[in-house]
Amino acid sequence: MEDPKNHLSRSVVNLWLVAGGLVALIATAVLVVAIVVFELPLWVPLAGATLAFALAIVVPPLRYRRWRYEIRSDDLYFSRGALWLVRTLVPFDRIQYVETRQGPLDRSFGLHQLVVYTGAGRAGTIPGLESDEAQKLRDELSRVAGAVSL
């Protein structure tokens, strides 16, 4: 099976970097508290923080490279995952509805998420879409959705 064609917006990498950085910061803070409480040696938080920040820097570009989506003739096809590869296929006639979302981080980068629902619940979320692209996708999918209703 071929990979889907389209990449997400480039700026989603920055979004993930910021989000990952925040998580790494929190992890470091927890570790610092832990050494004070449990009197652990200093290398523990240093190693932990290094690992957390390394992951926060390495993972986003990898994720970006792997995240693909495509509207094909009869279905929506997207694939993702750095370690766990997941490919999802949603036929148009099974789509119940589509929505776009924008969290606080998304807003600061001008990005949108697209959530697709079928009769079985949420089929998947495509993050990191530019406004135009998100709107185009939403309208296109809403148009073709639900030829068969549950």
Binding site: W84, L85, V86, T88, L89, P91, R94, G119, G124, L150
Partner: protein
């Protein structure tokens, strides 16, 4: 013509009994506290409650306007509910003990997404209920219901006892006992019996008796519960519906429109597998009763042979033939993957043991056995089949589940490959079906991809 209907007057009594039960504790408290005056208080309460229920009855009406059922009622807070037929998922006929006293039935109407029964018509005559049901389910009243169909499933009390003795809780106890016997050995058990003869009051015997007592209790409770719930269990097909009847004290009659059945599950616990027995439950869209009731309401066959379960599965899913073709085994690689993951899990423990205990730390290799065993048995439990009309997925070491989904009910598909799976060229498929999340674990990658392309034409 719009005709406004009242319930059967027995509704007064049904509501009365229902509410009286709620006040029973309060009344008892009054009787105990007030002694002599209690009689006055209680009779006043009885009279008030009776008046209340009579008024409630007079206010309660239902009517059918076009394609909508309208229920109105309420004393202080008047309510008016309209239920478009299109939103009605199922209509159940329930006969509790208090209904039986008056020879009436309750009609329960469930709607999509509704968590509780929206408009229970608590007391109707059998005939009213029977004539109302097809109308509410949006079926053509002109087509005759036809003669009562022969029962597809009819359980005897004997079947029920088998079901009870091999049910979930009992299976757990049996497995523990079988395991204990394996470990202790027959000789030990025999010597225990011999010793019991001369040491009647030994603590050991007391323990054994206590355990036996618990087992007897579990078995009895299971038999009673199963009998009450599934007494006289029958399944019939009527047109495009399945009609499931069951219950001893509370007679229930559920109507399941076939188009609502999204998938079925064949369930086999270890004890039932020994006897070749299985249960069959349905996965329906929209219909969502409370958690503890879900298994009972979705039950299509509490116990039967695996063949019988599959035959019924074919009928419930409206398949041209029973989905009884043999399942494909998972590839050998699936076992290797599970083994590798078990090793990765245990390896650090072995390493620590070696560091701490030196050569004696090798004993910690024993730790590998249970995960390796689980890896083997979970691999053996896997099964998959993509047939011309359906998809079948099987897994579960102890409680084995085979989910059967008609191809047309698959909503979406997700294919996933973890790091270890990639090394062994495996993939898992998650199948999007309402209310159930069946997974086809560890297929060969080619099988998984072929399934995806075959189910959804384009590649």
């Amino acid at each position: 013509m719009i005709q406004t209907n009242r319930l059967h007057p027995a509704a007064i009594a049904v509501w009365w009994l229902d509410d009286a039960r709620r006040f029973l504790l309060a009344l008892l408290a009054v009787v105990i506290a007030r002694g002599g005056n209690a009689l006055v208080v209680v009779s006043a309460a009885v009279v008030l409650l009776t008046l209340f229920e009579i008024l409630r009855y007079l206010r309660f009406t239902y009517r059918i306007e076009g394609n909508t059922l309208i229920v109105e009622g309420g004393l202080l807070n008047r309510f008016r509910r309209s239920l478009p037929f299109a939103r009605i998922q199922s209509v159940d006929v329930v006969q509790k003990l208090r209904h039986r006293l008056f020879g009436v039935v309750e009609l329960r109407i469930e709607t999509a997404g509704g968590s509780s029964t929206e408009a229970p018509l608590v007391a109707l005559t059998q005939e009213e209920a029977e004539s109302l049901r097809p109308v509410l389910l949006g079926e053509d009243a002109a087509t005759p219901a036809g003669p009562p169909m022969p029962a597809l499933v009819m359980l005897t009390p004997g079947d029920l006892i088998v079901a009870a003795l091999t049910g979930g809780r009992v299976a757990v106890v049996a497995v523990i006992f079988g395991y204990a016997q394996e470990v202790l050995g027959d000789e030990l058990l025999e010597s225990l019996a011999r010793r019991a003869e001369d040491a009647l009051r030994s603590a050991l015997l007391v323990t054994v008796l206590a355990i036996l007592g618990v087992v007897a209790l579990v078995l009895t409770a299971s038999v009673i519960a199963t009998t009450l719930v599934y007494w006289n269990f029958t399944v019939r097909r009527q047109g495009a519906r399945l009609i499931v009847e069951r219950g001893l004290l509370e007679r229930r009659r559920a109507t399941v429109p076939l188009r609502r059945v999204q998938a079925v599950q064949v369930r086999e616990n270890p004890l039932r597998r020994i006897f070749g027995k299985a249960a069959l439950t349905s996965v329906t869209a929209g219909y969502s009763p409370s958690n503890e009731e879900r298994e009972e309401t979705s039950m299509l066959l509490p116990i039967g042979s695996r063949d019988q379960a599959l035959w019924l599965a074919g009928l419930a899913l409206d398949l041209p033939a029973p989905p009884d073709r043999p399942l494909q085994r998972a590839p050998r690689a699936a076992f290797l993957r599970r083994l590798v993951e078990a090793l990765v899990l245990v390896a650090p423990l072995v390493a620590i043991a070696l560091v701490l205990l030196g050569i004696r730390g090798l004993w910690s290799l024993v730790l590998l056995l249970p995960p390796a065993g689980i890896a083997w048995f979970s691999y053996r439990a896997l099964g998959f089949r993509l047939d011309s009309d359906y998809l079948a997925v099987q897994s579960g070491i102890l409680n084995r589940r085979t989910t059967i989904i008609p191809r047309t009910n698959v909503q979406h598909l997700a294919l996933s490959r973890g790091p270890v799976q990639r090394a062994f060229d495996l993939a898992s498929l998650r199948i999007g079906v309402p209310k159930a999340r069946p997974y086809a674990h560890d297929l060969a990658r080619s099988t998984a991809e072929a399934t995806m392309t075959e189910l959804y034409g384009t590649s």
